[in-house]
């Protein structure tokens, strides 16, 4: 049994390595303005948030809807930290306020601080919120996300957050350099690496003793507590870690978008993420990743034609007008929710043994428990 697991692991590593090589090659050979790079970058960022949300909702069984709030904290922390001091001192961004933060950091430090800031807020919010049960937790975390948004828009904090106005001119994806050189780092590959490392850490966590404790809490809180698992400590841990990665992904989103504004991080964003998690399968890391890329590709690329008058070569500007894409998209989502309520992957992970088994149509008893992992 152990040997087979190891083989699976190596195949998974090889598959992931292959994906990275493919991304690197694609980026060097194709026109970088092609929409596919938008999909890849945004998809990777959404994968990270979806996985972090899955850690909380899928693996620990905490139905939290605060993800957008933590992304906001991450995005703002990152933009405040990495905006060059010279930019802060001129009027170009802080138009109506005098910037209070008078230092700047590099990208890496910025990303870490983004995660830490989100984690810190999560630790504070977790104290009251995590004692609540299911729906109440959902609605309270949603409420906290809204409060965070209001705080970041408050004009009293303007010298730090630029009030409700746009943050820009911080270090973005085009500012990433290959270490010790001045050569720009391929942006898509960078996003993939950053998100990949984070997701790998989450996978390691889930497969560790702590991950098992989280699952125990999800399956049966009373039994978990009776077996010596401190509920609050572990819930808080899961919440803080999930928020850390939500913060990092917020920072990555800020890097990708070039500009960031608090108004973006509404409840609708959390719903969108939740739908991604559900489409991928609650409790499946690979499902969340696949669903993120599909979701982004569909909304940004494949279905765009529905909005722009022309789809599949059919020219019908009166039918395919603005908004049709989202209408069709929401119907598809509704069908997935109703008819495939377990999502693409259920709570399983992609595994090659599983794929081969399915291919051979030989269903064995153990088929539901593939052991491989995939980024």
């Amino acid at each position: 049994m152990k040997k087979k697991n190891k083989a699976e692991l190596w195949i998974a590593f090889a598959a992931i390595a292959l994906i990275y090589v493919a991304v690197a090659i694609l980026e060097q050979t194709m026109d970088n303005n092609h929409i596919i790079f938008t999909v890849l970058k945004k998809g990777a960022i959404y994968s990270l948030v979806a996985v972090s949300m899955n850690l909380l909702n899928g693996f620990t069984g905490l139905f939290s809807l605060g993800q957008a709030g933590f992304m906001l904290i991450g995005a703002y922390t990152y933009s405040i930290f990495t905006m060059p001091t010279a930019v802060k001192l001129t009027e170009s961004v802080y138009k109506y306020y005098e910037a209070a933060v008078k230092f700047d950091t590099g990208i890496f430090v910025g990303l870490i601080c983004a995660g830490l800031a989100a984690a810190l807020f999560a630790a504070l919010i977790g104290l009251p919120v995590l004692r609540l049960k299911s729906d109440y937790l959902a609605i309270a975390s949603l409420g906290f996300a809204e409060i965070i948004r209001a705080i970041f828009q408050w004009d009293v904090l303007g010298p730090v957050t630029n009030g409700a106005n746009v943050m820009r001119n911080y270090l973005d994806l085009t500012d990433v350099k290959i270490p010790f050189t001045d050569i720009p780092f391929p942006p898509t590959l960078y996003v993939f690496l950053a998100a990949g490392v984070c997701i790998a850490l989450i996978v390691l966590l889930i497969n560790s003793s702590y991950g098992r404790a989280f699952k125990a809490i999800r399956d049966d809180e009373v039994a978990a507590e009776a077996m010596g698992i401190n509920l609050f400590k572990h819930k808080e841990m899961s919440f803080v870690i999930s928020s850390f990665f939500a913060g990092v992904s917020g920072a990555l989103l800020a890097m990708y978008q070039y500009t960031v504004q608090a108004a973006q991080f509404k409840a609708a964003m959390t719903y969108e993420l939740l739908l991604i998690v559900v489409i991928g399968g609650i409790g499946s890391i690979s499902g969340s990743c696949i669903a993120s890329f599909l979701y982004i590709a569909a909304s940004e690329w494949w279905l765009r034609g529905l909005d722009m008058g022309k789809f599949l070569g059919i020219d019908a500007p009166n039918l395919f007008r603005s908004g049709f894409r989202r209408f069709v998209f929401s119907i598809i989502i509704m069908m997935i929710v109703l008819f495939f309520s377990r999502g693409l992957m259920g709570d399983r992970e992609i595994s090659f043994a599983g794929l081969i088994r399915r291919f051979n149509r030989r269903q064995t008893a153990g088929a539901t428990k593939g052991g491989g992992i995939d980024g």
């Binding site: 608090a262 973006q264 007008r321």
Partner: protein, 402 residues
């Protein structure tokens, strides 16, 4: 039930396979200059405008101007070659967070130049995406200075908020003779926030005082703001917000009997406002880029074009009023063509270079750009007053500064 489920399943499959085959269709479009039906090479012009959300109404009117111009002049001759001009339209949904992805759609469609957007916020938010792709943009009616400040790819053909704010402050202080103004802007909105800021600066410099307030996104209850204005002792209500909010403000101003004139910027120059204010006891004055009637020829031919098609008429708000933004959109299109001719190329980089020295005389007046930020040198704003009986604009004397 099962049957229904099966049918739905098939439907999903069809849609998703359709979705999967769609990229083939879009990728063929991405080459920069392919052949059109007429056999001419094509130059793509991106239309980056909101068609939905807060600024949807204005965005549609601005787009109409561009479409009309495209109808009038569907080709352009560059260095002896005739190109068909193809408009690539994308809806930025008036939302800053949709800006980046809408912009990258245009970038990946291979446009040579981008026109828009109505609303400064989305322009600022999308600016870096266009910058990274090296595509020049021409702001049509986005008046916030930050759109063009500190960059070399964003240009603009209208006046700026510091100018507009000053005009409005002068109008309030000198013409209306008021000393206290209540200023309402939308939280996190660059346009209204910026204009209020410049208005306040100018108004206070004249010796007046201002009370400022903001409302959050999605707010539709303005009664408390109107009461705030009344209680603050203000004599004028300055709210240069989106037309969406404007409708509500006008409606609630009447029911709460605001009792003071309302002053606003270019966004309110819209038939949406006229329709909302018609027959109501409100006093609305706005500043704008172009007064209807300034160019009779343009007005009448545009009206004819709009009335010829029900969709156009709907996009223009249901009547054939000529909005200032429409005239500006019309001018922006020709300004872009002029730049292409000057550049002698459809390469974005060449057009960007040429834009600095492009000049053009449009229906809204002569356009030339300054050499600092690429802003139009304009010193005239038109002032209009809403006639509550006829539901039309009455022109007041235009204001020229400097």
């Amino acid at each position: 039930m099962k049957k229904l489920a099966a049918i739905l399943l098939v439907l999903v499959l069809v849609v998703s396979t359709a979705a999967c085959s769609a990229p083939a269709a879009t990728t063929t479009d991405t080459a920069a200059a392919d052949q059109s039906a007429s056999g001419n090479p094509v130059v793509k012009v991106g239309v980056y405008e909101p068609a939905s959300g807060d600024n949807g109404a204005g965005g549609k009117q601005e787009t109409l101007g561009i479409e009309y111009a495209n109808d009038v002049s569907p080709t352009v001759e560059i260095n002896g070659t005739t190109y068909d001009v193809q408009l690539v339209k994308v809806d930025n949904e008036s939302s800053n967070d949709k800006a980046a992805s809408a912009a990258s759609t245009l970038v990946s469609a291979g446009v040579s130049v981008v026109l828009g957007s109505y609303g400064s916020g989305v322009s600022i938010a999308a600016s870096p995406t266009f910058e990274a792709a090296g595509i020049p943009c021409i702001g049509i009616t986005c008046t916030n200075p930050q759109v063009t400040e500190g960059n070399t790819h964003y240009f603009r053909i209208c006046f700026l908020d510091p100018f507009q704010g000053t005009v409005l402050a002068n109008y309030a202080f000198s013409t209306l003779g008021v000393k206290t103004a209540y200023c309402l802007s939308k939280l996190g909105d660059d346009y209204s926030g910026g204009l209020v800021n410049y208005f306040v600066k100018a108004f206070e410099a004249l010796g007046g005082t201002c009370v400022q307030d903001t409302f959050p996104d999605g707010n539709s209850d303005f009664t408390s703001y109107i009461n705030n204005a009344k209680n603050s002792g203000a004599e004028v209500f300055f709210s240069p917000v989106s037309t969406e909010a404007a409708q509500l403000i006008i409606d609630q101003a009447e029911s709460q009997s605001l009792g003071m004139p309302i002053l606003a910027g270019d966004t309110w120059d819209s038939n949406v406002i006229l329709q909302a204010a018609k027959g109501k006891n409100v006093d609305v004055t706005v500043t704008t880029f172009y007064p209807e009637g300034a160019n009779a020829e343009f007005d009448s031919s545009f009206k004819e074009w709009v009335n010829a098609d029900a969709t156009r008429l709907a996009n223009n708000g249901g009547d054939d009023t000529v909005a200032a933004v429409t005239a500006m959109g019309y001018d922006a299109y020709f300004f872009a063509l002029e730049a292409m001719k000057k550049a002698g190329s459809i390469e974005p980089a060449a057009i960007m270079e040429a834009l600095w020295s492009t000049t053009y005389t449009g229906v809204s007046g002569p356009i030339a750009l300054d050499q600092v930020n690429g802003d139009a040198i304009r010193n005239t704003a038109y002032v209009k007053h809403c006639n509550n009986e006829t539901g039309a604009w009455d022109a007041l004397p235009p204001v020229t500064i400097g």
